[in-house]
Symmetry: C2
Subunit: 442 residues, 2 copies
């Protein structure tokens, strides 16, 4: 008999980094493996090509008298760098202290593979599932799912369902069933700050021309005020306030400050005045510099004025901010604040709006029952800071809500070196899948 974790370990070994073209073959190989695995469960499987990475869709035989549940996952992962900080190679899953360490262990391979295993178990025991299943696994989540919305639109009829379920969010603590009813959106942008046509000797020319590294820094510094508020004009105009019931539910979880300090290792917390730590992450928008670079960054010194510098920006968005409008405001801000002696080249990246659903809806209640069966105790009702743009697409294209039933722990190191998935969370995820399909069957 195969080991319970074998399939997960196999999937983790694919370095399916969607943002890096040199990994295109690995992404493809991962999709192929998943399709073969799902076929082995006697599901109906198709690999759908897109202009980017393929979408794998598996379904059982649908019957008109059953509810239809779409389970979503993504088999692509974030780049593994900085490589030097991994304790074991990023694409060789290593088990230590009850955790699997690997890029993608939690985000998202461990989580969707728990659903796959739950389905496998139910099919083995019952010969069928209690619902019509559509299991959709895409390969472009980490680059903003650019081709999934067109895919949903094209296959709108075949993908018609009553609800979507996704495990790609977090639990407030180990063993505490957590239902996420809202997530932030995102809007990305890359900015090149261009000056001289060549790198210049900073002795010979220093003082006579604008230095793009300096000017990129000056421009970046205009994005916030001294206290951490985003200083882009109009940025907060459409932000909906936090509801009283939400504030109460979140306060009931206790003060998150010590945990966030511990998880981040930051010397102090810092954020928008007037909001609690959790509110800043779950319900307030941000502007972040995800990357900045220009000039010589190697060992020693090189006295150069670089010909250009760059910044990668992302904005996390909350209801009811519009991603495109935010990028419009940001671009206007950047152009208005362009320092003298340089020019800007702005490239817009991926976007996705924020999302909220009513956790007291019938599907929301079914999800909470499944969580209670799996984990016992009180189910936490939360929002989250990360972005799953696809959730908004499910709402807009298929007209359905998404149940976010995450299995990530606060110290899973998503997007960071030494990403890991607690093996117990995998087993809980298998049980959650089985309870959820039963509860949603009604």
């Amino acid at each position: 008999m195969q080991n319970e974790l074998d399939d997960l370990l196999t999937v983790l070994r694919f370095p399916s980094v969607s943002t890096d073209k040199t990994h295109d073959n690995d992404v493809r190989a991962c999709a192929d493996w998943l399709a073969r695995k799902l076929q082995s469960l006697k599901l109906n499987v198709q690999i759908h090509e897109t202009p980017g990475h393929p979408v794998v869709v598996a379904r059982n035989e649908h019957r008109a008298d059953r509810r239809t549940v779409l389970i979503y996952g993504h088999y692509d992962v974030q780049p593994p760098d900085p490589l030097g900080e991994w304790k074991s190679p990023p694409f060789e899953p290593a088990i230590r202290d009850g955790r699997i360490f690997c890029r993608g262990a939690t985000d998202n391979k461990g989580q969707f593979m728990a659903h796959l295993r739950g389905i496998e178990q139910t099919l083995a025991e019952d010969g069928d599932l209690p619902v019509n299943l559509i299991f959709l696994i895409e390969g472009e989540e980490e680059i903003g799912s650019p081709h999934l919305r067109p895919f949903l639109e094209k296959h709108r009829d075949a993908l018609r369902c009553d609800v979507v379920a996704i495990s790609d969010t977090g639990m407030v603590a180990r063993g505490v069933g957590t239902f996420t009813y809202g997530i932030r959106g995102i809007a990305c942008m890359e900015v090149k700050v261009k000056g001289p046509s060549i790198d210049l000797h900073s002795g010979i020319f220093g003082g006579a021309v604008a230095n793009p590294a300096t000017m990129a820094a000056r421009l970046a510094a205009t994005l916030h005020d001294d206290q951490g508020r985003v200083a882009v004009a109009g940025f907060y105009d459409d932000v909906l306030p936090i509801q009283d019931w939400e504030r109460e539910a979140w306060n009931a979880l206790g003060d998150s400050t010590p945990e966030t300090l511990q998880l981040t290792g930051a010397p102090a917390l810092f954020g928008e005045p007037g909001f609690h730590e959790r509110e800043r992450r779950w319900a307030r928008p941000t502007a972040e510099i995800n990357g900045i670079g220009g000039g010589y960054q190697g060992p020693g010194s090189k006295t150069v004025i670089p010909r250009e510098a760059m910044m990668k920006l992302s904005f996390r968005l909350v209801p009811a901010q519009n991603p495109d409008s935010i990028l419009d405001l940001a671009e206007a801000h950047l152009r208005r604040h362009t320092p003298p002696g340089v020019t800007l080249e702005i490239t817009r990246g991926h976007t996705g709006p924020s999302y909220v659903m009513d956790p007291h809806s019938p599907a929301g209640k079914a999800a909470q029952r499944a969580l209670k069966q799996t984990f016992g105790g009180h189910v936490a009702l939360i929002r989250e800071g990360g972005s799953i743009p696809i959730v908004q697409a499910f709402k807009e294209v298929l007209g359905v809500d998404t149940l976010l039933l995450g299995l990530a722990l606060p110290d899973s190191q998503l997007h960071a070196p030494n990403e890991n998935f607690v093996i117990q969370c995998y087993h809980d995820g298998v049980r959650l899948n089985r309870a959820l399909l039963k509860e949603l069957a009604g």
Copy 2:
């Protein structure tokens, strides 16, 4: 018979990058080759070890009735990156349009090799030189010559001389003999801006912690005011004003703005208000960001809050600023302006004071006669923006002035991709060496 350029091309092929430890063997091999070459001229040659890269010293037989001239050069070079912008490989000299393209072609291999060739010719024709020669070639100029001052101190007696001559500066234009009587100093510093203990997901944690990339930019932005003045308190306190005769000599060279715009390819000039373009480069101090980096700079996007960001800073200094005092002021400024939520780690780099000599001294006049014999016409009297810290050491340790008789052209691309040396400048340099030694012999 060997080609006139063969030795220069051989020296250029050594990738003698002093700042990069992986090139230590190449630096050494270059020193060894030079020692063998100088030995073949029947000069007395020693390779002096230092804690870093070696110093090569060659001398003829000294006679008490002759003046002693120390010719200085450096065989180390700047790193070649960004590699992708070279039209031919940086360490394979390529001849195009009467120029040799190679890292180090002008800075400084082409220039000291012209002196070496001049000496070789004089020895071949006359059997002796008109002066006592000390030919000193070091391997650490591009990292601030950290071991040359101790070397001068240790060998003070053996290196006693009447004057130093260096070709490591520029000509105001091709064919115009140029005497540089002043250079700027330098003080370098690296700053790490540290926040979380690990890279964080900017969705999950964005808004709750200070982003080191953002904070590095905010800190960098405090270094200047909006108009380009350095905003470090006390920075200009010790700066000596430009003399009237200097301003007149420089204005006589014509407006440098069009040439600087053309050479740099910058969309506009930008610098300290109240000073001409040339004054800003030659006689006013600067603060430059030579490198800034943090977070993801690769293709695509990675929504990360980096755990740290870095800046490499250098300050160009003018009489009578003290490099260590400037670093004290800069460090105090950076610590005072450290944004919330991050900590700083400051590492001081190499320093060298500025230098001025009297161009109307006997040695200065001899140098100008040699320039006039070599190039004809009017000799330009200038200062320069770059730094040659060793010049101040010659003054302080050996008590002598340095004649700066550069052969670099404004478009030699020093420190930049496609560095090049005009072959005619090499031939001029050979003649200049011969005229100079005669004139200095008196």
